[in-house]
Amino acid sequence: MNQRLAMVIDSAKCIDCKACQAACKQANHVSRGAWRNWIKEAAPVVENGKLARGHFQPGACMHCDEPSCLAACPTGATFKSADGSVGIDPKLCIGCGNCIAACPYGARFRDPVRRKADKCDYCPQRRAAGLAPACVDTCPTKARVFGDINDPDSAAAKLLAANQGRVVRIVAKGRDTKPNMYYIASTAPEGWAVKPVDPLSFNALTQVVAPLVRYAVGLSGLGVLVMLGRQLMAGQKPKASHHAGPDTTSDPEAESRQGTANKPETADKEDGHDAR
């Protein structure tokens, strides 16, 4: 069975220490001013006679199974790997920004230095060395758990199994992109994911320009085929009547003059003279 890398998060354990954010920036050399992961905060509601409780919610790219960012990428620079992760090849990214608007979680940004899309990639360099992603490794309360949830022996799969029926996901408005980030029991804040939208330029491309080009090329191709068909049919006649050898190319000028004399185009030859 394919791998399915995912993050299982017990957000009740998060103490908002930001160690995951710092470790991510350090491990991935994320440019100044940009962050690949976050901790969101539900402010405590203070009421008389009740305990006021806030809640922190660690997050990052949710490596969705139906990624709206991938659907908005014109070049395939954003791709879904066999391990279930969603990656970006910066060498193929042209920095158009489509994926950034298309992500309902705001997980993507255009790197201010590299000028390409960037986001969490589950630290492939650390995984290759047998380590967990930096944010997971560094978390002092182990709120973040990472692993292959298709492997029943992984910590992430075990945690999911132990909390069957008590797992929530943050789902985008209007479209479930099937995120692979699972929160144990409950989490807050909720409902912050926005609707995935393609930029107007990309909608214009897919809905207007691409069909227009298809029709234009189709019409033109059809016209050429019709003309070619008429040419081939007209070409049969002189061949049949004169049986003068191969009528191709040895003297293109003479051939063309002879050719025009046998075809309706003769009329337009005379037109040229008659018109003046």
Binding site: A71, C73, P74, T75, G76, A77, F79, D89, K91, L92, C93, I94, G95, C96, G97, I100, R110, P112, R114, R115, K116, P199, S201, F202, L205, T206, V209, A210, L212, V213, R214, A216, V217, L219, S220, G221, G223, V224, V226, M227, L228, R230, Q231, G235, P252, E253, E255, S256, R257, G259, T260, K263, P264, E265, D268, D271, G272, H273, A275, R276
Partner: protein, 239 residues
């Protein structure tokens, strides 16, 4: 009057060179460009095409990245080639632009009648044409306007990750749309251009002139009557 078997000069060597240089660049840019589009909502001919082209360079997004680099290098070479042409033969370029954008009375009915003749096989007499006929003018206009749009949008795409801040990413998105539109429409015209110039028998001398630079006088008189008449009047005026 020019003898029927004489050859009339039609294209300067630099015109011929830029034509074939452009043709080669466009072919390579079209092929590599098709390999760069990979999106279920777009793939003009299906995902197999970008997959196959990327496969030539190692496959996957890494193969696509090689295609992108090749596309960018050829694109810049194309722009430099045109700059060199303009430096060498600016007068020729001005003559070309003046000719293709001057639509004379009768040109549009020439185009409609010619299209009817070539496809359905019926149509009235054709009005005489100048240096270019209206079909050639229409494709040349599309190539010039489309080429400019392709160049401008291509430069934006090239500079996207070198100069543009995130706040201008929208411009890059529109450059993608414009690039696709311009290439698509010019390609539609290109199919007819290639057929008329290289496959249709009646334009064979015109095709040959794109190698030799000259056309037979009787062909020129037949296809470009107003041009030949103008040349003759010029010659007489000179004497």
């Amino acid at each position: 009057m020019t003898p029927a078997n004489a050859e009339i000069k039609r294209h300067a060597p630099s015109d011929i060179r830029i034509h074939w240089f452009n043709a080669a660049c466009w072919l390579l840019l079209l092929v590599t460009g098709l390999g760069l589009i990979k999106n279920e909502k777009l793939n003009p001919l299906g995902a197999w095409l970008p997959d196959a082209l990327r496969g030539l360079f190692g496959g996957g997004s890494a193969g696509g990245a090689v295609l992108l680099t090749i596309h960018e290098i050829i694109g810049v070479a194309w722009l430099l080639g045109f700059a060199a042409y303009l430096a060498v033969n600016g007068g020729g370029a001005r003559f070309f632009l003046a000719e293709i954008f001057s639509v004379r009375p009768g040109d549009l009915s020439w185009l409609a009648r010619k299209m009817a003749r070539m496809t359905v096989g019926v149509g009235k007499e054709l009005p005489p044409q100048g240096y270019y006929n209206m079909g050639q003018k229409a494709f040349a206009q599309a190539s010039v306007a489309g080429g400019a749009a392709i160049a401008v949008s291509g430069i934006i795409l090239l500079l996207s990750d070198k100069l543009f801040p995130a706040s201008l990413a929208w411009l890059v998105g529109w450059a993608v749309t414009l690039h696709y539109l311009a290439v698509g429409l010019v390609f539609a015209g290109l199919l007819v251009h290639i057929y008329m110039a290289a496959i249709s028998p009646e334009e064979k001398p015109g095709f040959r002139s794109m190698f030799t630079g000259s056309v037979p006088a009787d062909y020129a008189r037949h296809h470009h009557y107003l041009w030949v008449k103008g040349l003759e009047e010029e010659g007489q005026g000179g004497k």
